[in-house]
Symmetry: C2
Amino acid sequence: MSHSVDQHCINTIRVLAADVVEKAKSGHPGAPMGCAPMAHLLWSRFMKYSPANPKWFGRDRFVLSNGHACALQYVMLHLSGYDVTMDDLKSFRQLDSKTPGHPENFITPGIEVSTGPLGQGLSNAVGLAMAERFFAAKFNTAECPDLVDNYTYVICGDGCLQEGITSEASSLAGHLALGKLIVLYDDNHITIDGPTDITFTENVLARYESYGWHTLVVEDGNNDFESIGKAVEEAKKVTNKPSLIKIRTYIGFGSTKQNSEKVHGAPLGKDEIVNVKKHFGFPEDVSFHVPEEVSNHYKELKITGASLESEWNAKFAKYAEANPQKAAELTRLIKGELPEGWENALPRYSPSDAAKATRQLSEICINKLAQVLPEFLGGSADLAGSNLTDIKGDKDFCKEHYDGRIIRFGVREHAMAAICNGLQAYGGLIPFCATFLNFVGYCAGAVRLSALSHHQVIYVMTHDSIGLGEDGPTHQPIETVPYLRSMPRMYTFRPADGNEVTASYIKAISSRDRPSTLCLTRQPLPNLVGSTVEKALKGAYVLHEGSEKPDATLISTGSEVSLCEEVAKALPNLKIRIISAPCLELFEEQTKEYQESLFVPGSPVISVEAASTFGWHKYAHAPIGIDRFGASAPIKDVYKKLGLTADVIAAKVQAAVNFYNGNAPNLAAHPF
Amino acid sequence: MSHSVDQHCINTIRVLAADVVEKAKSGHPGAPMGCAPMAHLLWSRFMKYSPANPKWFGRDRFVLSNGHACALQYVMLHLSGYDVTMDDLKSFRQLDSKTPGHPENFITPGIEVSTGPLGQGLSNAVGLAMAERFFAAKFNTAECPDLVDNYTYVICGDGCLQEGITSEASSLAGHLALGKLIVLYDDNHITIDGPTDITFTENVLARYESYGWHTLVVEDGNNDFESIGKAVEEAKKVTNKPSLIKIRTYIGFGSTKQNSEKVHGAPLGKDEIVNVKKHFGFPEDVSFHVPEEVSNHYKELKITGASLESEWNAKFAKYAEANPQKAAELTRLIKGELPEGWENALPRYSPSDAAKATRQLSEICINKLAQVLPEFLGGSADLAGSNLTDIKGDKDFCKEHYDGRIIRFGVREHAMAAICNGLQAYGGLIPFCATFLNFVGYCAGAVRLSALSHHQVIYVMTHDSIGLGEDGPTHQPIETVPYLRSMPRMYTFRPADGNEVTASYIKAISSRDRPSTLCLTRQPLPNLVGSTVEKALKGAYVLHEGSEKPDATLISTGSEVSLCEEVAKALPNLKIRIISAPCLELFEEQTKEYQESLFVPGSPVISVEAASTFGWHKYAHAPIGIDRFGASAPIKDVYKKLGLTADVIAAKVQAAVNFYNGNAPNLAAHPF
Ligand SMILES: [Ca+2]
Ligand SMILES: [Ca+2]
């Protein structure tokens, strides 16, 4: 009987997913139909979740890494009683619906992370599983060894397994022995372009074993769902290794076109929908049909979920009695509140303080923050000694010390960023990660998802310009700062001194629903006369007024602000205003009055930044920057070669003053 | 005797590399000292090369994937008689030297590809090895089966092997059975942050075996160089699999600090240099010393190289007699010349031609070009059916058909771009590759190197905006077009119709030393009245003059140009000029007169593009675009949601006209 209910549920999921895609006239029916058995088993036999409270901290985490199969996930959320209604299913891929074309964690209850770009989901899941280990190590006690105790389940396809990001994340997951990470690999032998063997003939299981994973095979994932159940049970028992279960399925199972790429990325069509319904014994002319037996079965699961949550709450109450401080801290973390006065931990500077590289100033902030924010953790992609990201006195996060806050990501930039998205999505943590700024190009796929998915991840990106010197153009970013600035919801900080670094961290930590990138120098910078944390928090501010009616205004960021001071000195006959602009996105958020107050109509604005000038024309009449690749040489020689010296810039400023003759157009005035 | 000469050479390489780094006061001495034995063996016993002609087509290709070890490569080039002098070695990492901080193929003779960003080199090497197979399959004959017959050798460290790009490329190399690719893995157990086992404990050889590689181990790569030689011989014999030889070395071998991260990224220091020289029995107070025995040994190798080239030339002459047409074609390819009149193969359009998506128009161009350019080959990262990149009637590039021109890269975007860099670096080929535009974020690390390293790679990037509709914000690029525009040496095309697509391909194909990205629509676009290929080749041009004194000027790209036509119709009382700007970088190359001729002083310029407005203020007083992430819905609904409709834009144009009142400032006038 239980068998036939399960089969009935599975067939319902298949037909319903096909209907969802058909109604939208857009989407991917094949993978949901193939993955229905594994999804049903996870939802009905294994996963802890509470549909009435999708954010229940004790829940298992589920990630659909092949996000194009999201009709499946929406159907599961609907059936199991999340706030995803039948009408929501009928609005699949429609404007402002709760069921967008790929899963979006900030739209749909029950979605942990946004997936679709392949490989991200599995890599996020590594972060989710790391977060579980961190909380468990930190909060579980001998008396309550399972307060934090959840699994992370993933469904993925072969697309995810071909992506390099997945290789990086999986290698790290094996190294970290993440035994509660269980991946169900939908092995359907089909990719968009045809059979996988046109390009993908590696031995996936052998590869995962080489990473230190436990692997399992289910031969018939279409019909033999009990074997899927047994495999997941086996996987749960192996607690010192992540598990990969390869499950052979047919894409579009139940369709006459099953097992071919034709059912991958387009609706089945009216006739084929009828065939599918016939095949599964469903009424041919009824759409979005959920038989009563199926809906009743899932209703029971909702009740089970609610009691699981109640039990956990009772356990937590008991834990709180025995461990009031720990319980209070965990409660704070779950709520996402920051402790009172945390920002006072960060230093302030005056001009007499020693010149330091902003990466060194960042190191100070990281270490101060780590003292007051137990939720602050992270590390570097094998450049900790250059990025200066180690939390001193803390431990490496590793299988012996899951409460360590220094994460050694290895030379795995893309996975690093995606893992931080996962760490953040778990709840309660503020992850940071680091590499050279230029290597944003190695992790941009995941950095973008930090921004899109509202993940607070702090990117500590050092060696932020030609100022890194000898390593040369392969390592010198030119286009990276414009790229980050053009990315919605990303704060791009390029601080010029100690106070600006502190301000950058204050804003990055207090912005709970978006990422920040700190672009930091390798080379030392002086502490500026006129900088304060409060001014820097405006995103741009007048560092030196020069005059109420300046002859020219220089706007600059990071290492070039002090260069602008030299330029002003080189032009004693001109009244020069200097604006420091550590974060243009933040400046855009200020009032129009404040924004306009920085600039004086008629005075030409010249921007100076050791990066592409692209984007500066919004603020400057005449941008100075580097519109070519850099060069390998000691720092001074590179700056000179590329025309970023006080005398060359001074000549250009004089040219601009002459050219505009006090009549530079007002750039701050816009028609809309 | 031969043994002791080899040892003498190896020790010389070690000491010389240490001196090179020491003199520069910057660089990485450890890996060169550890890799000296394998480098010496490759250069002296295995590799075919002709120092007097670094571009000799018949040469073996060598890639130093751990590019930070380039002191080693420069020393090898110097010793073996390339145009890299002792003075060049002494100018290591200095401005405008021939020996920059990482290898740059466009600077130093004998460097095949720029390396340093980890993983790129090995992935380039997969492309180099694929190119060899392609030429061999296409040109070798039964009588001359070895006209094209070279190996591709790589030295890499564990950093490269941790990168996802390397996993992608290696999986594909195994699938393609690239038996003449031989990778020497410098297994020194050290990364920048310390011992590799802090983060990297996978079984590398088992992983490579899972990819279908042949693997070998050398236990003592410091001293037992004969075993390295035997391993390379073994690797050469296995012709149906790429080979990975794991060679255990000590980083910084010969230094008292050997085998620790302390010798990774900084000069050894004066005292330690003395220790090293003592250890190897070199005079302590002499720097840049090459013993006569060593220099003589390498001189002989130079002579051998010259005769190898002569022999090849003789073979080619004989081949040319028997196969005059093939020989002529190969000669043309090696010279990098395009066949007469190739561009006539591309279609021209008139407004009565059917509306087509620019990806469809691109498909036509790809297929026309493939007919006239045998060197044109490429494919997609598992989206051929969406990117429309298949060369119809051609074969898949695979182990059965290495002369196939359809490359199935798999879901491996980053490796795809790096492999294309390698295909191009081999010489003679024009590779293209494809994915959705948004997934530039997955391959940016390699795309940047196409531009930096002067590789002509054509990126066919479809689904270029919110116009892709239902797939939603995870797939809709916003920041990608600005990113590409801010990247030096990249042409970013966003064509608006058939003629502009043809123009984009003409420019992309004829630009032999830089990459191009074509941003192409999913949705159909009408053929515009006023577009021509010739005008489009200016990068931007007046599509509709409107008036000599327009009230407003709209500048737009791609899918929004026809939208601008609707805007003009919605404003019958205004005289509207429309500028189509398929390639802003190309427009920047035009004369100042031409550039200024498009714009009329006083007339406000409004840009319209379905992407971030970032960067448009250079040309436009008031940019209209999308400064947020997109949305999942049918295309019309998304455009409406984001304010890109004729009526909304018309209202903004009217506002701009009112605001500026004929006095919009002249943006084309610049002080410098
Ligand atoms: Ca698949
Ligand atoms: Ca190493």
